[in-house]
């Protein structure tokens, strides 16, 4: 088995093609880097990942006489890597037989350490150090690495370069030109991932700047990723500019709820307000990046139009009603409707519900009568799947690196799996829209109300008893008897199943409005269950009841593995 030694620690690499930075990570050693990114090509321009490299042959290590950029140096069997953190190595491991001529001039790791400190000094020559007004401060790689690997003083005595800022770069992104360290991650992203190639480097040497071509601003559906990619505060999101300091934000692992790709995200919130969505690396869901629809698709959660308390229609007007009076009333009215005509009662479960919510709401309505039908809510389909990279003409190019899907709902597959289990078939909303029904429970949660408005056929006649649960006013809520506030995908724990049946659970980033109840809480209330609502417990219950979700509970997961099924 090919073995590489990182600070004397042997790492077996198998058949993988890795560079020094990746191997060091396998060995648990972090090699700092700016320009290198797993998903982008290698340029080795920042010189932050400099390491000492040698070769182990016949039990002796021959070191190369100079430091090499780790990101650009591939490893093979017998490669020896010494990083700047050699003095922090695991000293219980036996040291390799290094060439005494090499260690005589400088101790091991000293060359790399000094090179990194020198690199940082060079990067900071023209950096303005305006950290107090920079949005990146707190999560800035230049701050972190300067602190850890740099020097505390600058020897620079000349006046710094101060090129003007470029807020005209894009409608969503601004460039603080003087903060840039020319890692060119953003340029490579637009060339290799989005393929739109808006950004380029103008000038040479001291005068290098990131810029766009005249009349072609940085406007593509993946553009927001360059802000995440920027290791310093040069590229800033106008959406988040000066909104919060990053150390106030609490980060929760989320799942994007704007399309069926189901991208893994970080949801950054403070005091129950979501301020920012970032991409979370997940090779099984989407990879490294997210699209701008998802990145900026959280504003509905902070919208002033949202329903925040239950209301009921009386004399043509909606008036607030207390949960304590509303819940028994709802139960009674649905029980009456079921006794009168069970086939006239439907529960519409939206593809924006989590699987747990769909499961528990569905269980409630099936417990009223077997003839109550569970219906999959309208699934918005907008245009066609949009794949990246694109070529100069805007046509998609193979191989596809990112897909924005036409299906603008996160959990159609999850709700369908629940429906198939509870009633054996999936009934679509379109098939029951023409029927005259006596009662309907409509759970919505559509972040974009125009999506739902477009899917409800014109001339749709609402049943007399229509309970609509949604975030924003739509055609459905307009004709409802009761409107209940819904919660967004950031305000609950749950499980989404993406287009490829990949199951992801996510956590709650913010609390819902004070008087709102989550769909799961509501299902608990309707079922008459007592106690605290614990999504984790419901998830286990669902995993036992619905084989599709079997892998979500430890006991059933083992049973599935024994039976040879992959499950969710």
């Amino acid at each position: 088995m090919p073995t590489v030694y990182v600070n004397d620690k042997p790492v077996e690499i198998g058949t993988k093609r890795l560079n020094c930075v990746q191997v060091a990570e396998l060995a648990g050693v972090f090699v700092p880097h700016y320009c290198w990114h797993e998903a982008l090509s290698v340029v080795a321009s920042c010189r932050m990942c400099l390491v000492e490299v040698g070769d182990l042959k016949d039990g002796k290590v021959t070191m190369q006489p100079r430091v090499l950029p780790g990101c650009q140096t591939p490893v093979k069997d017998g490669t020896v890597i010494v990083t700047g953190e050699y003095d922090k190595r695991d000293k219980s491991l036996p040291a390799l037989a290094y060439d005494p001529g090499y260690t005589r001039t400088a101790p091991l790791g000293e060359r790399a350490k000094k090179s990194q400190a020198d690199t940082l000094e060079g990067l900071l020559i023209n950096h303005p150090l305006d950290c107090p007004v920079c949005d990146k401060a707190g999560e800035c790689k230049l701050q972190d690495f300067s602190y850890k690997y740099g020097r505390s003083e600058s020897r620079m005595v000349d006046v710094k370069n101060t090129p003007p800022n470029k807020p005209q770069l894009s409608s969503k992104i601004t460039l603080f030109t003087d903060r840039c360290i020319m890692c060119t991650r953003c340029v490579r992203f637009t060339r290799e991932i989005s393929g739109t190639a808006e950004l380029y480097v103008s000038g040479r040497g001291h005068h290098e700047e990131i810029d766009v071509f005249p009349g072609r601003p940085l406007e593509n559906k993946l553009a927001g990723n360059v802000v995440d990619l920027c290791p310093v505060g040069a590229l800033g999101s106008k959406d988040f500019l000066y909104k919060q300091r990053v150390w106030y934000l609490k980060t929760v692992d989320g799942v994007c709820n704007r399309c069926s790709t189901g991208c893994s995200t970080y949801v950054d919130a403070n005091k129950d307000i979501v301020y920012r969505i970032r991409a979370r690396h997940n090779p099984e869901a989407q990879g490294h990046f997210i699209c701008d629809e998802g990145r900026y698709g959280y504003h509905h959660a902070n919208s002033g139009e949202r329903f925040v308390r239950p209301v009921t229609k009386s004399e043509g007007k909606f008036k607030p009603i207390a949960w304590s009076t509303l819940l028994p009333q709802l139960k009674q009215e649905f029980a009456d409707a079921v006794t009168a005509n069970a086939t006239g009662v439907v529960a519409v479960l939206s593809p924006f519900l989590t699987a747990e919510e769909a499961f528990l709401l569905g269980t409630y309505f099936k417990s009223l009568s077997k003839d109550v039908r569970l219906v999959l809510g309208p699934v918005p389909l907008i245009g066609a799947d949009d794949t990246y990279p694109k070529n100069a003409k805007g046509e998609p190019v193979e191989p596809v690196k990112f897909t924005i899907r036409a299906e603008k709902a996160p959990n159609r597959n999850g709700v369908e799996a629940v429906l198939k289990q509870l009633q054996g078939e999936v009934i679509t909303f379109a098939s029951i829209a023409k029927e005259s029904l006596s009662a309907m429970w409509f759970s919505g949660g559509y972040p974009d109300k125009s999506h739902l408005d477009a899917l409800v056929p014109t001339g749709w006649k609402a049943p007399v008893l229509l309970v609509a649960q949604d975030l924003l006013p739509t055609v459905v809520t307009a004709s409802a008897k009761y409107i209940l506030p819904a919660t967004t995908g950031f305000e609950k724990d749950g499980t989404f199943v993406n287009h490829a049946n990949y199951v992801q659970t996510f956590g709650r980033a913010a609390r819902p409005p004070q008087e709102a109840r989550t769909e799961l809480q509501l299902a608990f209330d309707l079922l008459g269950r007592k106690g605290l609502v614990q999504p984790g417990a419901v998830r286990k219950e669902m995993a036992k009841a619905v084989p599709f979700f079997g892998a979500l509970a430890p006991e059933t997961r083992i049973a599935l593995e024994v039976a040879g099924e992959r499950g969710a």
Binding site: P128, D130, P132, V133, R151, L241, R245, Y248
Partner: protein, 190 residues
């Protein structure tokens, strides 16, 4: 740079002998102080008829400093709000007006509110400020008829600056370190 292990000096607590453990020397020390006060000159200040002059490093009501152009010096970095142990500072930041941006000001506080009732006057805010924009003044007799009156906004804090500057009671800088480049260059260097 993180502090290296070699730069850290560990200090051990002094070991007490039998004589110190009896606490008699500490008792005598304390009594000495008491007795010296009994025989020294008596100081009684007739407050409020006679108002004391506070030392210039006294920590009273805050002020927000103005720059050379009379604009608020604060760059809305939230360092004071982060350092504040009482969470009494609330800032809303915004991009600076176009006119200010010509002078390199990118960010400014749209609102800057200090709840003077919550404040514990520890001075952490002025210590944290990278641009010397917030300072604690010698004003100590802070009164108001309601809680709302004691919540000072940006205008009120700037007016404290005007009052103290006119009265010649500018506080002394408690931190002698170099200011951040986000601040304008200090006047004496011009």
């Amino acid at each position: 740079m993180p502090i290296a292990e070699s730069e850290v000096t560990w200090v051990e607590e002094a070991k007490l002998g039998l004589w110190e453990q009896l606490y008699i020397p500490a008792l005598i020390d304390g009594l000495k102080t008491t007795l010296s006060h009994m025989v020294s000159r008596k100081v009684t200040e007739q407050y409020p008829e006679q108002e004391p002059t506070m030392p210039l490093n006294y920590r009273g009501v805050h002020r927000l400093n103005r720059d050379a152009n009379g604009r608020v010096k604060c760059v809305a970095c939230y360092m004071c709000a982060t350092a504040c142990p009482a969470h009494c500072i609330d800032i809303v930041a915004a991009p600076a007006p176009a006119e200010w941006q010509k002078d390199g000001r990118e960010k400014y506080p749209e609102t800057f509110v200090i709840d003077e009732l919550r404040c514990i006057y520890c001075g952490m805010c002025e210590e944290a400020c990278p641009v010397d924009a917030i300072e604690l003044t010698t004003l100590y007799d802070l009164t108001g008829f309601s809680r709302e009156q004691m919540v000072f906004d940006k205008e009120k804090l700037l007016s404290v600056f005007d009052t103290t500057t006119q009265a010649g009671t500018d506080p002394v800088r408690t931190q002698a370190g170099k200011l951040s480049v986000a601040s304008e260059s200090p006047p004496e260097q011009k």
